[in-house]
């Protein structure tokens, strides 16, 4: 009898309609906030464009990036060569298009590796705490204590030059950054009531970490990920500037910038266009990151 009564009361109590709020998934919520940010949206479109370029670039590029023409070196922008030609008479526009793939590859892959490593370390460190935490954090401190570029120079000196090693170098010094962010997020999430609730049900560590804590850190990881891509591209460019980056004739933007810097007053377009490409790309990733941050999690900061 009590049963029936209970049910009746229940039915009268649930008169509120949820329909108006329907389909508010976390994603739609995110999208609603994100699409209001014009700049970030534009940046997102630009990034997508870059990715498309990276995938199909060589097909669209008017020339091959290695096609040299010693008769037409260092020519300024014209109808035939939209961004002019470089010291070997190669079409700078085509090279920039092809370079998109490389810069994105370096940016994405290095940060991806760094984020993966850092996330795992951060989760472990934050979740288990104690000596594990101390050790991981001390290592991060040590890595932190050195300027990123310095570490990269050293790592490349050890591993040898080349894009692959640039990726590894950037990944390595991205690790502590992600580790710290994820750790602090983990610490915060670990003490949330819902994680405690799960623990009180008897969940194992693995479940707690992957089902409850990791998804909670995901938004900061994504935001940071986007922003770090920008700095990874810049670091790669700096390394190329110091002669430690991509190998010729790879049309890596930083390498193009670096090799063109001797023509700064004779043929400024050789540095200008790759410089703009780097600037716009990094800008786009930063703006996108900003937008994501505002939409995903207003609490994380630089």
């Amino acid at each position: 009898m009590a049963n029936v009564e209970l049910r009746e009361e229940v039915s009268t109590q649930t008169t509120i309609k949820l329909d108006k709020l329907s389909n508010k998934t976390p994603f739609s919520e995110f999208w609603r906030k994100f699409k209001k940010q014009r700049l970030a949206l534009a940046a997102g479109v630009f990034v997508i464009l870059l990715i498309v370029l990276a995938l199909f670039g060589p097909a669209v590029a008017p020339y091959s990036s290695e096609e040299f023409d010693y008769e037409h070196v260092l020519e300024g922008p014209s109808l035939t060569h939209w961004a002019g030609t470089d010291a070997y008479g190669r079409d700078i526009f085509s090279r920039i298009i092809e370079g998109t793939r490389i810069s994105l590859f370096v940016g994405l892959l290095s940060v991806l590796l760094g984020a993966a490593g850092g996330t795992v370390l951060g989760l472990i460190s934050g979740y288990y705490g104690k000596w594990l935490d101390s050790i991981i954090m001390r290592i991060c401190d040590v890595l932190f204590a050195f300027p990123g570029i310095l570490l990269a120079i050293g790592i490349i000196a050890i591993l040898g030059p080349g894009l692959g090693n640039v990726v590894i170098a950037i990944a390595i010094f991205s690790v502590p950054i992600f580790a710290r962010i994820v750790r602090s997020n983990t610490l915060a999430l670990k003490s949330t009531v819902y994680v405690e609730a799960t623990r009180s049900m008897g969940a194992k560590d693995r479940r707690m970490i992957w089902k409850h804590i990791f998804p909670g850190t995901a938004s900061s990881i994504i935001v940071y990920f986007t922003m770090r891509i920008g700095s990874a591209i810049l670091t790669a460019a700096s390394l190329s500037f110091l002669g430690l980056g991509a190998q010729p004739p790879t049309p890596e933007w930083g390498a193009m910038l670096s090799s063109g810097r001797d023509y700064l007053n004779t043929a400024p377009h050789v540095t200008f266009f790759p410089g703009i490409a780097i600037f716009l790309t990094v800008l786009a990733f930063n703006l996108l990151g900003d937008g994501l941050r505002d939409a995903l999690d207003p609490k994380i900061k630089d």
Partner: protein, 336 residues
């Protein structure tokens, strides 16, 4: 029939008066806070300091006290979310305070918790269905059964099945608290520890939840440890009530004697401090002076002596013992 399944143990439980469902003996929890160079000199927060009580099957024990007096810490120790510094906890006669994490895990389904903050206690990234079925996943209940049961549970707590595929943020506070309760009920617990389950809710919603908890208790023969700071709420829901002050239970009695005939000066003051929603009722108030002392630096003797209007020299120096002044009425005060 499924309803029966949920109340399984309630049916066969019967009345076993002899052994209490839960027995707590001399429970203590000291949090250490590092002070001094390299943390060598340890300082303690005596969050819970020598607490003993029992809860019988099917009854509700209310625990009241002001903020920071150790109510939640007690609750969390019972849930084994915290390890007691000292003391024993017996569940159905079996000591659970010395089990390790793995051993306790399977026992966890017998006691569940309802949390104070309905906004924070649900993972915002999970759908209601996942939230409610999570304890079942953890305790290995097969999928088909889970799905069915989630919907049943939602109905039981006054929501409907079609809420299952929504996210917590789409619900109001009261509804979320219902989801939390549904989750707690999912694995047929015997004991529910409710840590201020209504204090974050509006009055009109609070009464809904209180009614629901009462109904569920009746239906599933649940046992509650009900933690709250609102004396009227505790009075409403509990059979027996314990009053805590600075990590200690200062008075513990059945509801009637405690509210009608409070013994401890603190209980008296507390009761008189509650504003009564009746403008004509002008009561004699005992306004306590001063603030609640910090548990990291508790007063000597009776911890209440700094605010007690009746404090004597003895109170300052001697820690009072718990005395049973009437059958079932325990007080810890030098006056008795």
């Amino acid at each position: 029939m499924q309803m029966l399944a949920i109340s399984e143990h309630g049916d066969c439980g019967g009345v076993k008066m002899e052994a209490p469902l839960l027995e707590v003996k001399n429970l203590k929890k000291y949090f250490s806070i590092n002070k001094g160079l390299l943390g060598r000199k340890k300082k303690f927060v005596k969050a819970v300091d020598d607490v003993s009580f029992t809860i019988k099957k099917g009854e509700t024990l209310g625990l009241v006290g002001e903020s920071g007096c150790g109510k939640s810490t007690t609750g969390r120790m019972l849930m084994r979310l915290l390890d007691p510094t000292e003391g024993q906890i017996y569940f159905e006669g079996k000591e659970i305070s010395n089990l390790n994490d793995n051993q306790i895990r399977s026992l966890r389904k017998d006691f569940q918790m309802v949390f104070q903050d309905p906004y924070a206690s649900l993972n915002p990234r999970m759908k209601v269905r996942e939230i409610v079925s999570e304890p079942m996943v953890i305790h290995g209940i097969p999928k088909e059964e889970r799905m069915e049961r989630v919907e049943k549970l939602l109905t039981v707590v006054g929501l409907s099945a079609y809420h299952a595929d929504r996210y917590p943020h789409e619900f109001s506070g009261g509804q979320r608290q219902r989801i939390g309760i549904a989750r707690a009920l999912a694995v047929n617990p015997k004991l529910i520890i409710a840590d201020e389950p209504v204090s974050a809710l509006d009055v009109s919603i609070q009464s809904q939840i209180l009614n629901l908890l009462k109904d569920l208790q009746e239906e599933f023969e649940l046992t509650y440890l009900f933690i709250a700071h609102d004396l009227s709420v505790v009075e409403h829901i509990s059979d027996r009530v314990g009053v805590m002050y600075l990590g200690k239970i200062v008075e513990l009695a059945d509801k009637q004697s405690l509210y009608q005939n409070p013994k401890h000066p603190y209980t008296k003051a507390l009761l008189s401090a509650v504003p009564i929603p009746n403008p004509r009722l002008k009561r004699e108030r005992i306004i306590l002076k001063g603030d609640i002392p910090s548990p990291s630096n508790p007063p000597s003797g009776c911890t209440f002596h700094t605010r007690c209007p009746l404090a004597t020299e003895e109170c300052r120096n001697k820690i009072p013992q718990v005395k049973e002044i009437n059958p079932g009425h325990y007080v810890s005060c030098h006056l008795f």
